[in-house]
């Protein structure tokens, strides 16, 4: 239960083509994350799957059945919205019960299901409250509760954590991952935050301007990005890109090295530079180094490293961790 296949799906709003035809297969039970910069069409793609937008061309299959013309409720999917979209005039209990009530389920059974969902999500004490009386994290859980009571074939999450503060976001990230492990239901998750994508996904779909740039597991994308865009988007801090003579020496237009694959030394190394701003995180220290003839590099040094502004340093890339890209931005192997 819960495999989703998109075939030649495209979407245009009037003359504007938001998503050119694309193919995508989502396996049963997978946690798939659509990631990309804002306006890349990832939310539109999710809404196409949900049925909230009609496809311009192509077909969508869920569990092998063609659902392209089926209305949202009949597709057996549940969605968690960015604004949570809770019904403000209903209590938490009624909010969670709403989809079951619409399905015409017997009230006793509804109560049972709502209570079970509430206990899974730690909402039992809040069932009689209104959404307005809850904190952001609790509202988020109500929205998830409303999704899980329907026992859907797949969950769709549309940037669900973007309205939460940083600490809560980390917690909810864990809770959603945990939920996925327990329910083993297919989940599709849309985010612009590559950290969320890396930490939660079984499979990441990187989108840019409606085009799928690369599909793969987090580590695949990290180790072997297909192009400049994916290389720059996945990984934090961002990969360093170097153009010019240094790149030409490796028969490439651009070469890329991740900050964690650069070695810092005070006496010898490949590139000479001066320390600019340094960011001390305790576990890591990030140095912004102005390297001569190379440009600005971000370098990660493990632990606490005491180097100050203006110090001269040498930077050496790990030889097998340098990526080369041709003039179209594709990786050269």
């Amino acid at each position: 239960m819960g495999s989703i296949n998109l075939e030649n799906v495209s979407k245009s709003f009037g003359e504007t083509r938001v998503i050119p035809p694309l193919n995508l297969d989502i396996e049963e039970g997978e946690f798939v994350v659509f990631v990309g910069p804002s306006g890349c069409g990832k939310s539109t793609l999710l809404r196409l799957i949900a049925g909230l937008e009609d496809v311009t061309t192509g077909t969508i299959h869920i569990d092998g059945a063609d659902v392209t013309e089926v209305r949202p409720a009949r597709r057996g999917l549940a969605m968690v919205f960015q604004s949570y979209a809770l019904y403000p005039h209903m209590s938490v209990r009624k909010n969670i019960a709403f989809p079951l009530k619409m399905a015409g389920m017997d009230p006793g059974e509804i109560d049972q299901k709502v209570d079970r969902a509430a206990s899974v999500l730690n909402l039992t004490d809040y069932l009689e409250r209104r959404p307005g009386q809850l904190s952001g994290g609790q509202r988020q859980r109500v929205a998830i509760g409303r999704a899980i009571v329907r026992s859907p074939k797949a969950f769709l999450f549309d940037e669900p954590l973007s309205n939460l503060d940083a600490a809560l976001r980390v917690n909810m990230r864990l809770e959603i991952s945990e939920l996925h492990k327990n329910l083993k239901t297919t989940m599709i998750y849309v985010t612009h935050d590559q950290i969320e994508a890396m930490t939660m996904a079984d499979k990441i779909v990187v989108l840019q301007a409606g085009v799928i740039e690369q599909v793969g597991s987090p580590m695949e994308l990290y180790r072997s990005p297909a192009n400049l865009f994916v290389a720059g988007f996945i990984g934090s801090p961002k990969m360093n890109f170097i153009e010019g003579a240094e790149a030409a020496a490796r028969n490439a237009k651009t070469i890329g090295v991740r900050p964690e694959h650069l070695r810092l030394s005070t006496d010898s190394g490949t590139w000479k530079g001066t320390i600019g701003v340094s960011e001390h995180l305790g576990s890591d220290t990030f140095f912004h180094v102005a390297a001569e003839g190379i440009g600005n590099l971000t370098v990660r040094a493990p632990g606490e490293v005491e180097l100050s502004y203006g110090d001269t340093v040498f930077v050496t890339p790990e030889p097998d961790k340098v990526y080369a890209f041709d003039d179209k931005g594709q990786v050269v192997r």
């Binding site: 009949r74 979209a85 019904y87």
Partner: protein
């Protein structure tokens, strides 16, 4: 935060405005109360004398009073029902994306700018007139007997005219409320399996509750004192069929030159308005709480 000193200064500075407003309200009210206890007829000036509650007794036992009371409530209730149902319907229609939306919205608001006397005259002479009116022509075209609205259904006709005037107001308020509804809520309901009618019933209508309350309260205030429409169309008749309390007060004080009885009627109207307000707030006031 304000210190005690600045708060005191603040009170001192707003006091002229407060006192002016208070006087503005208190002086006419107390004069009306004072007149209502006098035998005060403009045809016999200088003969005023204190007569206690006699004016009230006359006003309240006047057979026209209960007719007027019933008519007032029917008028208010009828107009409210038409404008709320019609307003919700029109707001739903105008919220749909369509060509020329801006112009259509302005056209819908237009009746609100027509003054009551004019609109009542237009309705009386151009629509409801049994000889020249548009409705009469339409009836004749279909081979029916023209219906003399103002003679045979005077109160209903006035309700229709007043509702026509207030429909734009209700539509405008309800439309803005409708536009503030979070579209994601409707989409969530769609995902939850609620079809059009149920989305309206479970999501849109509760969202509109507060706006509907505001429309009811504001309109009630104005509808209790409808006067011009009655004066230019039916003159309260035939008999008392379209006389409301406001019009009855006018009949007493201005047509019979009896200031005392008219004042008593005015005070009765104030009391009635407060009773209506009390019940309204009991019924729907909770919708206004955040």
């Amino acid at each position: 935060m304000a210190t005690d000193h600045s708060r005191l200064a603040g009170r001192f500075m707003i006091s002229p405005a407060v006192l002016l407003l208070l006087g503005w309200m208190i002086v006419p009210l107390s004069m009306t109360i004072y007149f209502s206890f006098l035998n005060y007829n403009l045809l016999s000036p200088g003969m005023e004398e204190f007569i206690g509650l006699t004016n009230y007794e006359f006003f309240l036992t006047d057979p026209a009073f209960f007719d007027a009371l019933g008519n007032t409530l029917l008028l208010v209730g009828g107009v409210l029902v038409i404008t709320i149902i019609g307003g919700v319907g029109l707001a739903l229609l105008l919220d749909q994306p369509m060509w020329g939306q801006g112009i259509v919205r302005i056209l819908v608001i237009a009746p609100f700018f027509v003054m009551p006397t004019v609109s009542a005259l237009v309705w009386k002479n151009m629509f409801m007139n049994p000889v020249n009116g548009l409705f009469a022509h339409a009836a004749k075209f279909m081979g029916l007997e023209p219906f003399d609205f103002l003679a045979h259904a005077p109160l209903f006709s006035i309700i229709l005219i007043v509702a026509w005037q207030w429909l734009p107001f209700a539509t405008l308020i309800l439309l803005t409320a409708l536009q503030s509804l979070d579209k994601e809520q409707l989409e969530a309901a769609k995902m939850d399996g609620a079809r059009k009618f149920r989305r309206f019933y479970y999501i849109v209508l509760p969202h509109l509750a507060r706006a509907i309350t505001v429309v009811i309260l504001i309109q009630t205030i104005f509808l209790l004192s409808v006067f011009a429409e009655i004066l230019v169309t039916t003159n309260g008749g035939p008999g008392t069929a379209s006389t409301n309390i406001t019009y009855l007060v006018y009949l007493q004080s201005l047509l019979q030159f009896d200031v005392g009885s008219g004042s008593a009627g005015g005070i009765v109207a104030v009391v009635l308005a407060n009773i209506v307000a009390f019940f309204l707030m009991r019924m729907i006031g909770k919708n206004l709480e955040a």
